[in-house]
Amino acid sequence: MTYIPKPRIRFPKRETNALGLTRLDYEGSMSTLCAGCGHDSVTAAIVDTFFQLEIPPHRVAKLSGIGCSAKTPTYFLGTAHGFNGVHGRMPALATGAQAANAGLTYIGVSGDGDSLSIGLGHLCHAIRRNVDMLYVLENNGVYGLTKGQFSASADVGSKSKKGEANRQTPIDPVFLALTLGATFVARSFSGDKAQLVPILKAAIRHRGFALVDIISPCVTFNDHEASTKSYRYTRQQNRPVVEADFVPLRAAISVDYAEGEVRDVAMHDGSRVRFRKVPDAFDPTRRDVVYRYLRERQDVGEVPTGLLFIEPGAGDMHDVLGTVEEPLTDLPFDTLCPGEAELDRLMEEFR
């Protein structure tokens, strides 16, 4: 891979957000992924999301592990610090960074190899700690960068490009997250930007760990007939079961819906998630209901997508650790060092 700077062409009539920035300011360098890769669509959705949320790009920290997904943070938010760490262990880096400086917005981009095999433990514990971050899992069922081995998310019976069928049961990140007590769980499809952008917005505004599993087909190694992570299969089986909008804090309250048709869930910062359409007897705030519903739908081969579960009130890692509100990196040294006189006093206790 080479580093390819993108030509910066300004169009005078480009749309700007409240910060006076255009979408271009939220882009990064040129993608070197395969043409048609699902990940590039996810990147585009991420660019739109941050642009629309009006977050200053340099106030974002973007992290990734190793693999095709791990390359994508270079393709968005060019003026944000990025960290392409080691395989599977991005959650650990993000946890430490977030512990040190809770003042930034964190996005981690991972893949199914990164998150569900080598880094499974780290993902689980980042969920348990409820680290305040958006965790994007670009899920294609295959190891792309090493040319097509099955990943842990490959479905039983799904065939590799060479025709070999996978016989091991898959690890489903959505069920995993629900079981571990995740406070925000969503699944989407890289080909459905209209669904994805509101989910990403809500995920960023969620205080806590927001897992967004995105079926993101690998055009080179897993887009063939008999693959269950191909564009065709996903389009056929995709069931957007939950339709949700993100309503920012300052938006006027809409009266488009009659009572009973919509349900608002308030977020930590006062913004809201508005559920427009949910199946009968489905409740996105009840973990057991969500789990049962998804299990039933997936058992008949559907891929249910949407913002599936949200628990906005849970404390994040800093609440659990009991750390101060102010980012630790901002604390002046004299509030950290007890000083000479105190050490002299303390030494008396060691006599």
Partner: protein, 614 residues
């Protein structure tokens, strides 16, 4: 020994008990009492990797001249564990004493003609006097403490003061402990001539000293250095460092208004994650550390290489234990030297500091954060179980309020706004250290941190020249750290042609060996390395001596290997002296080994104690 056959303030005792019976507290009180009598003392807790039921020993060495390395053999054995009685009694020097629980007869195989048996039926007396199995067990410890206090002549005020401080919160508890103490005292006075010829006498050596373990001192150093993030995973013998840090956070970092903490201590899922958290926090500009032991270092290898290559400050405490593999987790060793300084794959080389005692643990903890930020690289403080978990008498820890953290070359928001150029990995000033920027500060500061090949501008590269520019600069950068890292400690003797090179906790034993060798007519110079990469003085020292012995606590003479590899001195110029059974080093074996190597006979063993007195 004086004319009356007494040996005042110069003896060793060993207490053999079963772990989980609470004996550690009683043993610690005895050591603290001796410390408060102003006498140099050391305590070595030789404990099993177990919670209850296995043999455990506590060794106390008293030495008025200040030699407090581990004693070779005890003069007095408190033999309270039937399972180890035979071996324990055999361990006592001829002419010494055995204090045993005479509720049961001493095992026939354990009996010796040349030692004096002092029997007190501690268990029987405690069973008669106290209620409850647990209370009886605990109070038996205080009873033997009482007996020892009169046998060794501990000042009554001192021991009573300690009992009151330790158990004074509940009157009932305090009363029971005083009763047990008095029981032991009375029994010893009634049965034996007290004190024994080995006894204590107040002196004034500890006025400016404290009794502290290395892990507590290191944790305190982290607090004083301003560390705010800890990622860690429990592992003996490093756990108590983080425990101590958390206790200090409660005390010194609590916001008085909100009750919330100015530090985040995150217990990780494994050591890999612990390292990742520290690096993530360091990337953000926080002072962050982890504490671990050898197995943790092995697991952290991948992340350590990332921090080295991506040039992120991070501090690692390695409290070494006996390896390889799980090894003996509660025994000490210096077996991680090579694993630490070259940790991770590819060409890596790390700054490492080697404290000799808890005072240096405090000092080097602070130095480690300064070095890590100045050189933008991982720094290791390489301690061990003996230093970390045993209480040592060291000079009072001191602080200078003039201290300011060395944050290294970090471009501020103002500098970036004013147009400072960001070339993350470019050597702008010729000092091998590039300028870094921190996330969130300024849009112009952004760059992409990565462990993959990168050029001087942090761009991905697979180009040989661009790659070499960065890795060669990093090599120079780490080597240049000797300008700021602690210089070796050198102790010279006039005319010495023999040099002893050593490291870490070997210090006290080697310096004592030097005295004994001098008494045997062999003048030696001692050099103790305190940092890696080595200062030039290390090489000069080796070259300046006809015979050089490298004293260390590992099987493969790792320090010697490092010295040869890093200084260019031929391996054969240095003779290895290795002690690696898991116990803290004693001076005797060092003296013997040096004399043997020089073809000189070892001095005869000192005569039996009582024989000399009678």
């Amino acid at each position: 020994m004086d004319s009356a056959g007494e040996r005042v303030n110069d003896f060793a005792l060993k207490i053999a008990t079963v772990n989980g019976t609470g004996s550690a507290s009683a043993n610690g009180l005895l050591m603290q009492a001796i410390f408060r009598m102003g006498i140099p003392v050391s305590g070595k807790n030789l404990f099993p990797s177990n919670i209850q039921g296995l043999p455990t020993w506590y060794e106390i060495r008293v030495n008025g001249s200040g030699w407090t390395a581990r004693a070779e053999r005890p003069d007095l054995m408190v033999a309270l564990n039937p399972a180890t009685q035979m071996r324990d009694v055999a361990d006592v020097v001829p002419g010494g004493w055995v204090l045993a629980d005479s509720s049961w007869p001493l095992q026939r195989e354990a009996r010796r003609e040349d030692v004096t048996l002092l029997g007190i039926p501690f268990a029987r007396l405690c069973n008669e006097r106290f209620e409850g199995a647990r209370a009886r067990t605990l109070l038996r410890n205080i009873a033997y403490l009482g007996a020892l206090s009169v046998l060794l002549d501990v000042e009554p005020d001192v021991i009573e003061g300690l009992i009151t401080e330790t158990y004074g919160r509940k009157k009932q508890l305090l009363d029971a402990n005083f009763e047990a103490l008095q029981l032991g005292r009375d029994e010893a006075r009634d049965r034996f001539d007290c004190p024994l010829p080995i006894r204590l006498l107040r002196q004034a050596s500890n006025d400016d000293a404290v009794l502290i373990d290395g892990n507590t001192a290191a944790a305190l150093g982290c607090i004083y250095a301003g560390a705010t993030v800890v990622g860690w995973y429990p592992i003996t013998p490093s756990t108590s460092l983080v425990d101590a840090f958390r206790a200090f956070v409660e005390r010194y970092r609590k916001d008085p208004e909100t009750g919330r903490m100015r530090a985040a201590v995150v217990q990780a899922e494994d050591e890999l994650a612990a390292a990742g958290m520290v690096i993530g926090a360091g990337w953000m500009g926080a002072r962050a550390f982890t504490a671990t032991s050898g197995p943790g270092i092995s697991l952290m290898g991948e992340f350590i290489g990332l921090a080295y290559y991506a040039e992120i400050p991070a501090v690692f405490f390695d409290i070494q234990r006996t390896g390889p593999s799980t090894g003996m987790p509660t025994r000490t060793q210096q077996g991680d030297l090579l694993a630490v300084v070259y940790a991770s794959h590819g060409d890596t080389k790390h700054i490492a500091l080697f404290p000799a005692d808890p005072a240096e643990c405090f000092e080097f903890a602070v130095a480690a954060f300064d070095l890590a930020e100045r050189y933008q690289t991982p720094v290791f403080v390489v301690s061990d179980l003996d230093i970390g978990m045993n209480d040592w008498v060291v000079p009072r820890l001191r602080w200078d309020d003039g201290y300011r953290p060395d944050r290294g070359k970090v471009l501020s928001g103002e500098e970036l706004e004013a147009g400072a150029k960001v070339a993350r990995y470019l050597d702008v000033d010729g000092d091998h250290v590039p300028y870094r920027t921190l996330p969130g500060v300024h849009p112009r500061g952004a760059y992409f941190t990565r462990g993959s090949g990168h050029d001087s501008h942090a761009r991905y590269t697979e180009d040989a020249e661009a790659y070499l520019e960065v890795v060669d600069r990093i090599a120079d950068k780490v080597m240049s750290s000797t300008a700021s890292s602690p210089a070796p400690e050198v102790v010279r003797s006039p005319g010495a042609t023999v040099g002893l090179v050593t490291i870490g906790g070997c210090r006290s034993a080697v310096l004592e060996a030097r005295e004994r060798l001098a008494a045997a007519g062999v003048a030696t110079d001692v050099l103790r390395v305190r940092a890696f990469p080595f200062h030039n003085t290390v090489r000069e020292f080796v070259e300046a001596h006809e015979r050089v012995f490298v004293v260390e606590q590992n099987r493969d003479a790792q320090l010697r290997f490092l010295l040869a590899g890093e200084t260019g001195v031929p391996l054969e110029r240095m003779e290895p002296l290795r002690f690696y059974g898991g116990q803290p080093l004693s001076p005797g074996p060092v003296v013997t080994a040096v004399l043997d190597a020089l073809g000189l006979a070892a001095a005869p063993a000192p005569p039996p104690l009582q024989a000399a007195g009678e």
